[in-house]
């Protein structure tokens, strides 16, 4: 029918590409983090990274942000997805509006929320307009890491819930309608149908969405720079600083390895926590 080599020939370009620009660079990162320019194996870059005063804060901030953003996003997207599924008219329009942030970069999202939170921004203007405050509060200065954190949280939820929504809506579309009809015949209410049918059958989609979001949450960078400058250090921002301002690619690589390790650990944890036994798939 066809030469046996045809499928391999078709896969060759993308496989080559992923090997050269995906697998190989990750090997290089590990190499850079452990080996000096003269070829000596060393852990000094990690020691230098750990002893820097910003490392602990950056790590905590990154983890806290991921912990605050991701669960909130999953719940919000679940709610939005059930709303969309209950819709008779206008479903496509609403879905388009809700997925708009999908096309917006993290940098642009940061700038958008800067318009709200800056000192002469819309939040202060509105609060003054309704008489809550007399003069603008400085929300994003270095004394207010709490409000910076909150602003970043809102910007991240605003920007990246759309991707979770798309994955969950696609996943819900795969669940056979008969299951719900059967459950209804036996008298299951809306909440019971949600927890007993939707959630268990949505596990693979939830898994995909959570892995994707957690990885992206560890990479949070431009939103933070746009809203907080360097007032709220995160891991990715520290990498950028070490690479450029401090001109030390080795320590930057050590940081990168930290992100890599927590990313892989979380991926494995989510894969295990939300595993679907064989034969229980839709």
């Amino acid at each position: 029918m066809y030469p046996r080599s045809l499928p391999y020939l078709l896969l060759l370009p993308s496989t080559l590409f992923l090997c050269v620009f995906f697998l190989y660079p990750f090997g290089l990162v590990a190499w850079q983090a452990f080996v000096t320019d003269t070829g000596q194996f060393t852990s000094e870059f990690f020691v230098e990274m750990k002893s820097h005063w910003k490392f602990g804060t950056a790590l905590t901030n990154t983890l806290m942000l991921a912990l605050a953003v991701v669960p909130f996003q999953i719940c919000l997207a679940l709610y939005m997805a059930t709303l969309v599924n209950g819709m008779k008219r206008g479903r496509d329009l609403i879905l388009y509006i809700w997925t708009i942030p999908l096309g917006i970069s993290d940098l642009a999202a940061g700038i958008i929320w800067l318009a709200v939170f800056e000192q002469t921004g819309f939040l202060n203007s509105m609060l003054q307009g309704i008489g809550v405050i007399d003069q603008p509060m400085s929300l994003l200065s270095y004394q207010n890491t709490g409000t910076i954190f909150l602003a970043i949280l809102l910007a991240e939820v605003w920007r990246a819930t759309a991707i979770v929504l798309v994955i969950l809506v696609a996943g819900m579309g795969l669940i056979p309608k008969e299951y719900y009809e059967a459950a209804e015949v036996f008298g299951a209410g809306r909440w019971k149908r949600f927890t007993r049918i939707t959630l268990p059958l949505l596990k693979p989609s939830l898994q995909t969405a959570m892995i994707l979001r957690v990885i992206l949450a560890f990479e949070v960078f431009a939103v933070v720079v746009a809203l907080g400058g360097t007032n709220l250090p995160v891991l990715m921002g520290e990498i950028y600083t070490w690479q450029f301002d401090l001109q030390d690619a080795n320590v930057a690589a050590a940081y990168a390895l930290v992100i890599l390790v927590i990313s892989i650990a979380c991926t494995l944890l989510i894969m295990w926590g939300l595993r679907t036994p064989k034969g229980a798939r839709v």
Binding site: P7, P13, L18, G86, V225
Partner: protein, 281 residues
């Protein structure tokens, strides 16, 4: 009565109209949540520099293009915009050229190593890809690709390629193989059958995945900032100027970044779901 229930829908007849109001209210509120921040950015963009710095702010724009003009004439912006377009275009071409054949192979053939390849593609999701820019920055200096359009486009292609593979895979899977077989029996060879029958059918989908690749590259900040120095793309240029440029410049830059992306997402909206639906399995 109970036939009125659809999955997730509210039992209108049973619970009365306040359920309906709650439902509509939630939908409208969530739409505002998405749209209002974008609107506020546009208000700032379409106001003069004084209005942007003024306090308290008015919620309506004065329709003044001063900020936008200032931004577009600002030194380096035109160059950055042009670089962004170049990098995104190269990314688009590379990811489709490499991704579409792979998508076709995955949908049409059974062969050893198929699962290995799928795992390789899905693995890219579990890795923080912008980090790739760090080792490549060192490598590029050695091979003369530093600060170049092509070098950055390679990294962006790594981001876009998995999506291109998955979208084209779902596109080709949606076309019955019988169509191809019919073409073969009528005397087409494999290539002709693909070119004359399958290609016209998948063209819109391919275009959508190309646009998606373009958006991924257009929006990417970290790798762009790490790999370019003179030839900054627009996001990298904006990022660099965040700490010292005036507010109205940031907002105009943000708007220039957002608007094309909005248009592109509108064009590809139909394909978003087929893409992610397949990614779940």
């Amino acid at each position: 009565m109970s036939t009125a229930h659809r999955f997730g829908s509210f039992p209108v007849q049973l619970a009365g109209s306040w359920h309906r109001y709650l439902f509509t209210g939630a939908v409208i509120l969530l739409c505002l949540w998405v749209l209002v921040p974008i609107y506020l950015l546009l208000v700032n963009t379409l106001s003069s520099a004084e209005a942007v710095a003024a306090y308290p702010k008015k919620p309506f724009p004065e329709i003044d293009t001063e900020s936008l003009q200032f931004f577009m004439n600002y030194a380096g912006v035109g160059q950055a915009l042009w670089n962004s377009i170049k990098v995104a275009t190269v990314t688009m071409i590379l990811s489709i050229a490499a991704g579409a054949p792979a998508g076709y192979a995955l949908s049409r053939f059974d062969f050893r190593g198929k699962d290995t390849f799928r795992i390789l593609v899905l693995m890219t999701r579990a890795f923080p890809l912008p980090l790739l820019a760090l080792p490549l920055a060192v490598l590029y200096i050695r091979i003369g690709l530093d600060d170049s359009v092509l070098g950055l486009a390679f990294v962006h292609t790594t981001l876009a390629l998995p999506f291109a593979v998955l979208i084209t895979f779902s596109l080709f899977s949606g076309i019955p193989i019988e169509l191809e077989e019919a073409a073969w029996t009528l005397g087409c060879n494999r290539f002709q059958a693909f070119y004359k029958v399958i290609f016209p059918l998948v063209l819109p989908g391919i275009a959508a995945s190309a646009i998606f690749a373009f958006v991924i590259s257009w929006n990417e900040v970290f790798a762009a900032a790490v790999l370019t120095i003179e030839n900054r793309t627009l996001p990298a240029f904006l990022l660099q100027g965040l700490s010292d440029s005036p507010m109205h410049l940031k907002f105009a830059g943000g708007a220039v970044l957002v608007l094309p992306a909005l248009l592109f997402i509108f064009l590809v909206r139909k394909y978003l779901f087929s893409m992610w639906g397949i990614a779940n399995r």
